[in-house]
Symmetry: C2
Subunit: 168 residues, 2 copies
Amino acid sequence: MPSGSDPGKLLPLEEIHFIEDIGLYFERLGMPRMAGRILGVLLISNPPAQSITDIAIKLNASKSSISIMARLLTEVGLIERVASPLPRRDYYRFKPGGWILYMQQWLSLMSGLHKIAERGLDLMKEKPPEIQERLLEAHDLFSFMEDHFPALLENLKEERILRLEQEA
Amino acid sequence: MPSGSDPGKLLPLEEIHFIEDIGLYFERLGMPRMAGRILGVLLISNPPAQSITDIAIKLNASKSSISIMARLLTEVGLIERVASPLPRRDYYRFKPGGWILYMQQWLSLMSGLHKIAERGLDLMKEKPPEIQERLLEAHDLFSFMEDHFPALLENLKEERILRLEQEA
DNA sequence: TATTTCGTTTTGTATTTACTAAACAGTCAA
DNA sequence: TTGACTGTTTAGTAAATACAAAACGAAATA
């Protein structure tokens, strides 16, 4: 059996690229590249759960950064710790529903901007409407997202459930 | 007339807080704080269009950073240059529809992740479905966003148009 | 008890980054 | 032309950041 299933062996080139691209994407999202790489590993690893040292070896990285970034990813909710078959080993794996959580966090960012826009409107309440218009635009958008985005996520969940049932 | 309408005068405290909070928010979005501050100024300034030096004075910042960050904001599409009444002065203002553009860019980020998920699935195509499941989850979510988010933005635009007509 | 094998924490470092200050270039006014 | 404004670009700096190396602590094994 080739590929990443054998810890200690080097990863095939396509996997390295895949992992590195997620790392680069994470940078664009304002997160450390190493965090993205860890997620990359945990998205294609076999078995799905990997220990800190497993990941460090696969990535040729230090255990310290893996430890720290794994904690970060756990806080964000994209990965989780799972019960370990071996004693005193922490296994991490991609967390089912992790992306949805990520979306919800994005939504709460939008809610924050919604509130800021409201504060801005409050500052401008004596001013003519043309002056308020800019903030109204922001306000309308972010409150719209706050109102409608959750339903979108719900639809997504439903669609996925249907799909999984269909496959079974 | 108090407040920010008089260039050279200090901004009132609530406006400073408003501006600074947008700056902090920009940091969370992975952008320089100063860019957020500029946007903050351009969201509540009167008149809406302000020159580089105007903004620099208001923010107690160097012209150089204002210049650079204004360019960044322009590239992102949140502000724009407008024809100047005075000669050889560049005026910037919040760009109508700027937030929509920002959302569209966010969407294209999601499309990118969609593509990466597909590549991952391709890497896993020989593996059992349980192994592919993680990537399917990502794939489903991002392609769902790609499919349905634009319609959401359309609804938003329509709602806004209705609202503006109603006010007129 | 000593040793190995984990993960964590700390410390150090090199890079990046966000900014300022200073030099610069263009253009209008005197 | 000179001088006083623009905004831009370059150079320099201080702080933040992402990492690695090393020290550390805890627990299973010998």
